[in-house]
């Protein structure tokens, strides 16, 4: 599904990722943990194709395609979803309009017919219910006036509607209270835990992993994976800290 090989990336000419390698197979859920400044968010943005995140070496193959050669919208149409740590507010554009146009742009790129307004609304309401988000919120401008928890739940609703093959979720657990954490975790499982899908969870804490059980846990430090293991590695990190485990 995703093969990252010896990836180097810089932000404003500052090297952040320094030889990161990672392979995710269909059906797997991977978690990347690591201290502040390790390059976790840079990894997410680099895979998403954010301008300003320059790849200086290595390769990324997503579903058989050269991911790094694709524009951000092409990556989305190919089945990549990036969940934002800080979802962006876009005044004046309703969630419904934004998501319907996004989904139909993806479908068009894949040679599929656009979804009708009625069919889209049914899908959107279904996914909002899954994340226990008031469907009325989908009529509001994108993320404007949403609480931190609502923004993250709305990200998961977007993921449910767009139905990606691979979700890279950047600190989806930050800013969530205990109930919202559980709802988001269950949402991720319901949407993404399939034999043909995969998830890369970027997180600081063990708590999200209580709900979304990872198959593999990686420790990212200094721009590369310094250790990989099973779910028990996350517990060790929680108990001993990054310094104790990654050193």
């Amino acid at each position: 599904m995703l093969e990252i090989d010896n990836l180097y990336a810089s932000v404003a000419d500052k090297p952040i990722l320094k030889g990161l390698s990672l392979t995710i197979r269909p059906g797997e859920i991977h978690a990347i943990m690591g201290p502040n400044g390790a390059g976790k968010s840079t990894l997410g943005y680099t895979l998403g194709g954010r301008p300003g995140y320059g790849v200086t070496g290595g390769s990324v193959v997503f579903d058989g395609q050269d991911l790094l050669a694709m524009e951000p919208h092409e990556r989305a149409a190919a089945g990549l979803f990036l969940g934002f740590q800080y979802p962006v507010e876009i005044p004046g554009v309703s969630m419904v309009q934004f998501l319907r146009e996004s989904l139909n742009a993806q479908r068009k790129a894949r040679g599929q017919e656009p979804l009708s307004g009625g069919a889209f609304l049914k899908l959107a309401r279904e996914k909002a219910a899954l994340l226990k988000l008031d469907p009325e919120m989908l009529k509001r401008p994108v993320n404007v006036g949403f609480s931190g928890g609502e923004k993250k739940r709305a990200e998961m609703v977007q993921m449910g509607i767009l139905d990606p093959k691979l979700a890279i979720l950047d600190e989806t657990d930050s800013g969530l209270d205990i109930d919202a954490l559980r709802i988001c975790g269950e949402g991720i499982n319901a949407i993404m835990r399939r034999p043909d899908k995969a998830v890369l969870l970027i997180t600081h804490y063990q708590r999200l992993l209580d709900y979304v059980k990872p198959d593999v846990v990686h420790v990212l430090a200094g721009g590369r994976i310094v250790r990989s293991g099973g779910p028990e590695l996350a517990h060790k990190l929680e108990a001993h800290g990054y310094e104790g485990v990654a050193a």
């Binding site: 524009e71 951000p72 554009v93 994108v142």
Partner: protein, 240 residues
């Protein structure tokens, strides 16, 4: 009045005088709203055009004007508005230009009597080497207490060569008035564009969505807002 204006004239400082010369002098259109009446006007410029409009809003009357200035060539709307007691004036204007064009809105709103309200909302989207101007003067005469005036002027520059001139002015000769103005000139929010792209929207569609939302503020309250939005989108196709 018949002599061609020069740049020394403040109201023409940023105008495209070469484009003005062949159509000069410009006839003045007069609009009068009787006391207590309500009227609205929508003006869409999609060719080259120079409008000079004088509006008199009677006591307790209301006048709303919506403008889409998406001229191909020089497009100018000059408005002189005189407000009676307790009257209301609303201007919602969008200007869209690319290439080497100049588009401009020049207003003079005079509060002559107490308790009148004026609202001016101008949104500009400029690409290429285009110039978009807003020169707006709000005058509050002696005795026009309780005046409530507001100017909200914003521009998005799509390209480095585009220019926006925004000059709100207040001349206040009365006490107990409320006059606010705000100006902002910037580029499309790059974080927003990436967010939209990350969901699958191609760059042109992402820009169109953000620009449309930005311009929509100018069309709030317009009876034919959908027609204005459609015309604005058509004009934007050449720019994005």
């Amino acid at each position: 009045m018949t002599a061609l204006p020069t740049r020394a004239d403040e109201a023409w400082r940023y105008a495209d005088l070469a484009a003005l010369a062949p159509v000069w002098p410009v006839a003045t259109e007069t609009i009068s709203i009787d006391a207590g009446e309500t009227a609205a006007r929508t003006l869409v410029i999609d060719g080259a055009a120079v409008h000079d409009i004088v509006v008199s809003v009677g006591d307790g009357a209301a006048f709303a004007m919506h403008v889409l200035n998406a001229a191909r060539g020089y497009g100018r709307v000059a408005l002189r508005v005189t407000l009676g007691r307790g009257s209301r004036f609303h201007l919602g204007a969008a200007q869209i230009a690319g290439g080497e064009q100049t588009v401009e809105i020049v207003t003079e709103v005079v509060h002559t009597a107490p308790d009148a309200t004026s609202r001016q909302i101008v949104r500009q989207v400029l690409g290429g080497r285009a110039t978009g101007n807003y020169l707006g003067r709000v005058m509050v005469d002696r005795g026009a207490v309780g005046t409530d005036g507001e100017q909200s002027i914003r521009a998005i520059l799509l390209d480095r060569g585009a220019t926006a001139n925004a000059r709100p002015e207040l001349e206040i000769f009365a006490d107990d008035v409320k006059c606010a103005h705000g100006c902002a000139i910037g580029e499309l929010d790059q974080d927003g564009l990436f967010y939209l792209a990350s969901r699958g929207l191609p760059p042109a569609a992402a820009k169109a969505m953000m620009v449309q939302a930005f311009l929509a503020e100018a069309f709030v309250g317009a009876a034919d807002g959908e027609r204005l939005t459609a015309a604005a989108l058509a004009a934007l196709e050449h720019l994005l």
